[in-house]
């Protein structure tokens, strides 16, 4: 006779059922794989889009900011590589957060009809952006060869940089996914917020063009430090560990708040979706 389980009104973090998350890891994997498969299934160019999009964005931004606004002069490295190295983590962040914020609503049928740890849904939705990121990373390495920027030892930090990015992505993503279920307004608000954040994050410009007194504030942006560090590692420049640390700490705070909001809202997902 199996041990009894008791279902009662839940309180606190027990609601997140982190252990159940592990036992449902196959579901996590399958949902992520589903998103990847479906994403490019009926597109003629298929997965090529994962490369075309960031490259096209880079070309446009390069023409506007690099050429017209002379951003090229302000960075000591080839501007296309600079841009692309900033765009990759940014795209991972923007796409993941957008996907996780829509994930629970998009999978409403499942959430309403089957039991499983809800955290799986927003986490799995980062799968497709991660695949896109990895594909584009190949392009970045190609560009580094082409422009001859060289491969420095700092590239060994990539796993840590990736972990740090995922903390930022999940921290903000979980928060947004829970909030979006409760208040659909965020579906409309989020693209706008992401757009704003894009300009506040040093993707198209180096952070040293911002006056010094703002730096501490900008570092609170969970993606700020990690984008700078990622780009420095790629371009073989000194890494600002302090900035990276502050951003990661900020991302961890987002994660804690995100999980807290998530478990509060999770208890009634099925009732409000």
């Amino acid at each position: 006779m199996p041990a009894p389980t008791y279902l009662r009104a839940r309180r606190g973090f027990a609601g997140l059922q982190l252990r159940a998350l592990w036992s449902h890891r196959d579901l996590l994997w399958l949902l992520a794989a589903r998103d990847v498969k479906v994403r490019y299934k009926q597109a003629v160019l298929g997965a090529m889009w994962a490369l075309i999009q960031p490259i096209a964005t880079m070309v446009v931004l390069h023409l506007f900011f690099g050429r017209l606004l002379d951003m090229e002069e302000r960075v000591a490295v080839p501007y296309p590589v600079f841009l692309f190295a900033g765009l990759l983590p940014w795209n991972l962040f923007a796409q993941s957060v957008t996907a996780s914020s829509n994930a629970l609503v998009a999978n409403a049928a499942m959430v309403r009809k089957v039991y499983f740890p809800r955290l799986i849904v927003p986490i799995a939705s980062t799968g497709a952006p991660i695949v896109d990121f990895l594909l584009a990373l190949g392009v970045l390495f190609g560009m580094m060869l082409w422009f001859g920027t060289g491969f420095g030892p700092a590239l060994l930090l990539l796993p840590f940089l990736a972990a740090s990015m995922m903390i930022a992505v999940l921290g903000v993503g979980l928060l947004m996914s829970a909030i979006t279920v409760a208040y659909r307004d965020f579906r409309h608000l989020l693209p706008f917020m992401i757009q704003l954040l894009f300009f506040l994050t040093p993707v198209i410009y180096p952070s040293n063009i911002v006056p010094e007194r703002f730096h501490a504030w900008l570092a609170l942006n969970p993606m700020q430090g990690v984008i700078e560090a990622f780009r420095a590692a790629v371009l073989n420049q000194p890494i600002d560990y302090a900035g990276w640390g502050i951003s990661t700490a900020s991302a961890l705070v987002f994660m804690a708040v995100g999980l807290s909001v998530f478990q509060r809202v999770e208890r009634r997902f099925a009732d409000i979706i």
């Binding site: 006779m1 199996p2 041990a3 009894p4 389980t5 008791y6 279902l7 009662r8 009104a9 839940r10 036992s23 449902h24 196959d26 579901l27 994997w29 399958l30 949902l31 589903r34 498969k37 479906v38 299934k41 009926q42 049928a109 499942m110 959430v111 309403r112 009809k113 089957v114 039991y115 499983f116 909030i179 409760a182 208040y183 659909r184 307004d185 807290s260 909001v261 509060r264 208890r267 009634r268 099925a270 009732d271 409000i272 979706i273």
Partner: protein, 458 residues
């Protein structure tokens, strides 16, 4: 040796040792409350207020834009006992035990709390108060194709759906062939499921859930979608599951299936348990409760068309069907409904079905093809020829649907009629079966002496 005598044994329902058998599900004062019309439930903590602070403003804004939001349940908040201060008691302190190996049927009118009960048992939503004790893994089939993605193939979806229901990939792989065989979809395994028929969808979904081998299986009335042959197969499978010592909770509007399959049946009414009894008695009680459906059509009709097409009366040979109607076999049987269409319904047909012991004998429509139904009152009728039905009791289900069957309304067991025994039947004990055919066959005699008619073995 009557073929209708179904050899379903109900050991748990009749023996006294049911109480001694291990209890697999125990609900104690189980209560679920929904807030009406709002998306945020009551009982917020201080922390939640911080989040809802921004939210309330957003909510007001949203309410200004969209008039009303449906709550999670399709509920009819008419019962004054259940609605209090904007809250709806979907389930009100219900307690029950289900011993291992039992098939518990749950019946009741729409909004009685059946779906809420299944949602609580399947952990989709938490109780407001009270608790449920469960022993073992719970598999549930509350809606067809919950874990399915239309773009993916049947094969991919089996793995996905299995994972959603809590199976590991290895378990799915071990059961894969059995699932495919049970669902009868082997030819379409690599076709995206968006090209599947609804029947194939149900078959696949049921097959995955049934092969999950949970200790407790919860089934909502998904089987209604499949064809009769498959429904029988599913009922057989569920029966097998129960005989294998696992427990089934089965919500259905199909009284025939409930009586055939269940050991015990719970009748829910107004969020409380009205009766828990052996199937026949419980179904009789349910039919009593639904006898007054004319006052509250929404409590018995289901489907997306229900609020646009309302049926308000059903007559059998011009007799109001709120009383049982007796029909002489010489009479043709006239079924007539009166209803209201809230708006014009394009490509619509009214449909009538006659059931006996839960088996659908026939379906007739009020038109050869779907045609437009103008807004306002309408009547529809069909006529069954005399001498078609054998003596006995029948139930009538009516509904209406739009071409494509996506938009429908459907109510079951709305009326009963009896075909009386005729004088000639008493002398005809060999004419068994459910329907009569006019006339008879023929026989010819061949003399064995005739060499031409004798087959010769080569």
């Amino acid at each position: 040796m009557h073929p209708a005598a179904n050899p379903v044994s109900n050991p748990a329902a009749h023996s006294c040792d049911a109480a001694d058998a291990a209890v697999v599900i125990r609900a104690t004062d189980l209560t679920k409350r929904y807030r009406l019309g709002a998306s945020t439930p009551a009982g917020q903590t201080l922390g939640e207020l911080i989040y809802t602070g921004i939210g309330t403003a957003c909510q007001r804004l949203r309410q200004a834009i969209t008039p009303t939001r449906p709550t999670a349940e399709a509920i009819e908040p008419t019962d004054p006992h259940r609605v209090r201060r904007g809250q709806f008691l979907a389930l009100d302190r219900i307690s029950f035990d289900v011993p291992r190996g039992q098939v518990l049927g749950v019946i009741g009118r729409n909004g009685a709390g059946k779906s809420t009960l299944l949602k609580l048992l399947s952990r989709i939503t938490d109780p407001t108060s009270g608790e449920v004790m469960l022993r073992g893994r719970v598999g549930s089939l509350l809606e067809v194709g919950t874990g399915f993605h239309p773009e993916l193939s049947g094969r991919e979806n089996i793995f996905l759906n299995g994972a959603v229901l809590g199976m590991t990939r290895r378990e799915v792989r071990d059961k894969f062939d059995a699932i495919v065989e049970f669902a009868e979809i082997d030819k379409f395994l690599d076709t995206p499921v968006k090209r599947y028929s609804s029947g194939m969808f149900v078959r696949l979904a049921f097959a995955v859930a049934a092969h999950l081998e949970p200790e407790i299986l919860l089934i909502d009335e998904v089987l209604a979608v499949g064809d009769a042959g498959f429904q029988r197969k599913c009922l057989g499978k569920m029966h097998g599951i129960a005989e294998g010592g696992r427990t089934v909770v089965f919500v259905s509007h199909d009284m025939g299936a409930v009586q055939q399959l269940c050991d015990r049946v719970m009748v829910l009414e107004g969020g409380r348990i009205d009766t828990i009894d052996e199937p026949r008695a419980a179904v009789a009680r349910y039919l009593e409760l639904t006898a007054d459906w004319r006052d509250e059509p929404a409590s018995v009709f289901r489907g997306p068309l229900t609020d646009r097409v309302r049926f308000e009366g059903l007559w059998i040979n011009d007799q109001d069907s709120s009383e049982p109607v007796v029909i002489h076999p010489d009479q043709p049987i006239d079924l007539r409904v009166a209803g209201q269409a809230a708006e014009a319904i394009p490509a619509y047909r009214t449909t009538f079905s006659v059931f006996r012991d839960g088996i659908r004998l026939l379906t007739q429509h009020d038109a050869a093809l779907p045609t437009d139904l103008p807004a306002g009152p309408f009547t529809a009728s069909v006529q069954l020829p005399s001498h078609l039905l054998r003596p006995g009791g029948y139930t009538v289900c009516i509904g209406g649907y739009r071409e494509g069957m996506q938009d429908y309304t459907w109510g079951v067991d709305l009326a009963r009629f009896t075909v009386a025994e005729a004088w000639s039947d008493q002398f005809d004990p060999v004419n068994l079966g459910l329907i009569n055919l006019p006339g008879h066959g023929k026989r010819s005699h061949h003399s064995t002496a005739s060499p031409t008619s004798t087959p010769v073995a080569a």
